[in-house]
């Protein structure tokens, strides 16, 4: 884990070293003069050799100091925390919504294997996988913001504007993220359940007199959760950073947009920090997924997994 992160720091640092464009000249614009630029570079510590900057950065990370944003001139941690309060709720809402939709649908489809409800659910799931989420977002905008004018087409009201206004501005983004994801999740759930209901212990349960439904929900589902949780973990990691496009569609001030903006503005310190934090988040999510495996499956407990 630590090694992965360490390699990540090296890779990110090197990649950003070759990124064309100078943060200082971006900040000072067209009329800036050379001495002004070098003064600003010195102020930002960009005049030091790469190795020094690398170690300063990594040591800073280790001590929890993410540095100062070049463009905003505030601590990067502050910036990230502000954005996390948009991205994290969005990611959580999206994963919850997609789970709530997908798992029942997947189980229903599996229990009605090859019957019409299965075919309909799987048809929708195919459609959901094929539709790019940003297009879906645009369709939602056309319907709910342009035609019906029920919901804002974009922007984030901010949590200090109140819980409901903030939630309203996250509603369409959540739906546009969740539905395509639930399409995938429903598929995975269905095939996992189909796999599990072939198992001997389902027959054992049925032989006890357990009903088909109860066998499905009480005996099969939990066993089928392993692949489902794996996919959910992947989806959640994707959601943390991969909301860039959706944040662009709805203009939400989230993590994805921050990193996108930081790359174009050459706020390299923000880019570096965010990439490392996101990699760390992915590692943490993998760890949580491992823990969940153990919660779900007692065979994996205490076996030195994770």
């Amino acid at each position: 884990m630590a090694i992965t992160l360490l390699v990540a720091t090296v890779v990110v640092f090197l990649v950003l070293e070759i990124l064309p464009g100078d943060p200082a000249s971006f900040m000072l614009g067209m009329e800036a003069q050379e001495d002004t630029l070098s003064a600003l570079r010195a102020q930002m510590g960009l005049d030091q050799p790469a190795l020094v900057r690398y170690f300063k950065w990594v040591l800073g990370l280790l001590s929890g100091d993410l540095g100062i944003s070049y463009t905003y001139d505030v601590p990067v941690s502050e910036l990230i925390i502000e954005r996390i309060f948009v991205s994290l709720p969005l990611a959580i809402l999206a994963i919850v919504l997609s789970t709530v939709i997908a798992i029942p649908l997947g189980v229903i489809a599996a229990s009605r294997h090859n019957k019409s409800s299965d075919l309909i659910i799987m048809g929708f799931s195919q459609l959901g996988i094929a539709i790019p989420n940003f297009w879906f977002a645009m369709l939602l905008t056309i319907v709910f913001a342009v035609m019906l004018r029920w919901l804002p087409a974009g922007g984030f009201a901010g949590w200090d504007a109140g819980f409901f206004p903030a939630l309203t501005s996250l509603l369409l983004p959540t739906v546009s993220l969740a539905l395509p994801q639930s399409a995938i999740l429903a598929r995975v759930t269905r095939s996992a359940v189909l796999e599990v209901i072939q198992e001997d212990y389902i027959r054992t349960a049925r032989a006890k007199g357990v009903s088909r439904g109860s066998a499905l929900w009480n005996h099969a589902l939990r066993n089928a959760m392993i692949p489902v949780v794996t996919i959910m973990g992947l989806q959640f990691s994707f959601l943390l950073a991969g909301t860039i496009i959706i944040e662009n569609v709805f203009y939400l001030p989230g993590i994805g947009r921050l990193i996108f903006q930081a790359i174009s503005q050459r706020d390299l310190i923000v880019v570096k920090d965010l990439v490392i934090l996101l990699s760390a988040a992915v590692i943490i999510i993998n760890f949580i997924v491992d823990v969940l495996y153990a919660v779900i499956d007692p065979r994996l407990r205490g076996s030195g997994h994770a």
Partner: protein, 328 residues
């Protein structure tokens, strides 16, 4: 009226090549507390017969004939009624103890589940009964608490748990489908004894399904020999074993090892009956066994033999039985 009467049971399954009849016109009956064995090679329809009795045939399977429990035809019951019989009046132990227990649930909850469903026991009562059951199958509570998970148990121990699950509601009939096949040789004997003991003590009827004649001999009074979906010979275990009439039964015996290392070698030698069980979609006209039979004649390839009495209750479906039967 017998406790269980199976009459002309046929079961068909859908395959890519259409519906195939895997069990054809099987009939037998058993009295309360009786002990019946069903023997045959794998794929001959033993397990499917058991599943038909449990009402657990695959979704698109079609069963004809009748399975009467106390005169009530189980094939005509709806799912809800069938559920009240399953695990309550007929219970079953499966072949693979390693996979027949739900890995994510405790053994306690798996045993008590049936108790709650059929006997309507509350949590405490169900727990107490579960403890007794565990004890009765040889898993004393001090070493085997209810919150154990299946992976913490050995194969034999798991089979004991499965037995406890099956007998929890004291069913009229216990079906044991190859209960020892997957177990170590040393454990097999003990498990069989446990099954014998429990069924005898409580007066349960036992249907023992096995390819292993030794197991059948050890546990049953009557036996039904199945081949390719047909009952080819039936009678008291003693009669059939001593005066085997069908060449197939003979083949099974010939393949049986003397004693001891029964399991593995038995299977190996069984293949010494020349040829293989014909697949369901390629069953020949006439006697299904004719292709492998050393006594087969032209007649066997044309006409299908039916099960008819050879001697008293000893029946065989063969034009050329090996024996005239045991004169009584």
């Amino acid at each position: 009226m017998s406790l269980l009467e199976i009459e002309n049971l046929s079961v068909s399954l859908p395959t890519p090549k259409g519906m195939l009849e895997l069990i054809s016109n099987v009939s037998f009956s058993m009295e309360a507390g009786a002990r019946l064995g069903i023997v045959g090679e794998s794929g001959c329809g033993k397990s499917l017969t058991a599943l038909a009795m449990m009402g657990l045939l695959p979704d698109k399977a079609a069963a004809r004939g009748a399975i009467r429990l106390n005169g009530e035809n189980l094939l005509e019951l709806d799912e809800k009624m069938m559920r009240s019989i399953r695990g309550n009046r007929i219970a079953m132990i499966f072949q693979e103890p390693m996979s027949a227990l739900n890995p994510v649930k405790t053994i306690g909850s798996q045993i008590s589940e049936g108790l709650k469903i059929h006997l309507g026991l509350n949590k405490t009562d169900a727990e107490n009964k579960t403890k007794k059951l565990l004890d009765s199958v040889g898993l004393p509570l001090n070493r085997f608490p209810l919150n154990l998970h299946p992976h913490q148990l050995s194969g034999g121990q798991r089979q004991r748990v499965l037995i406890a699950i099956a007998v929890a509601c004291e069913p009229d009939i216990l079906i044991a489908d190859e209960p020892t096949t997957a177990l170590d040789v040393t454990v097999q004997e003990i498990i069989l004894e446990l099954i014998n003991e429990i069924t005898e003590n409580s007066g349960m009827g036992l249907i023992m399904i096995s390819h292993d004649l030794g197991v059948i001999a050890q546990t049953t009074e009557k036996v039904l020999v199945m081949y390719a979906g047909n009952a080819v010979e039936s009678g008291s275990t003693e009669d059939v074993f001593q005066h085997m009439a069908h060449p197939y039964t003979h083949g099974l015996f010939a393949a049986m090892p003397k004693s001891g290392t029964r399991n593995y070698e038995a299977r190996q030698r069984l293949y010494s009956i020349p040829g293989q069980v014909p697949e369901a979609h390629a069953r020949p006209k006439g006697c299904n066994f004719a292709g492998r039979c050393f006594k087969a004649t032209a007649e066997c390839a044309v006409e299908e033999p039916v099960l008819k009495p050879l001697n008293g209750k000893h029946k065989v479906s063969c034009f050329h039985p090996l024996t005239e039967g045991n004169p009584q």
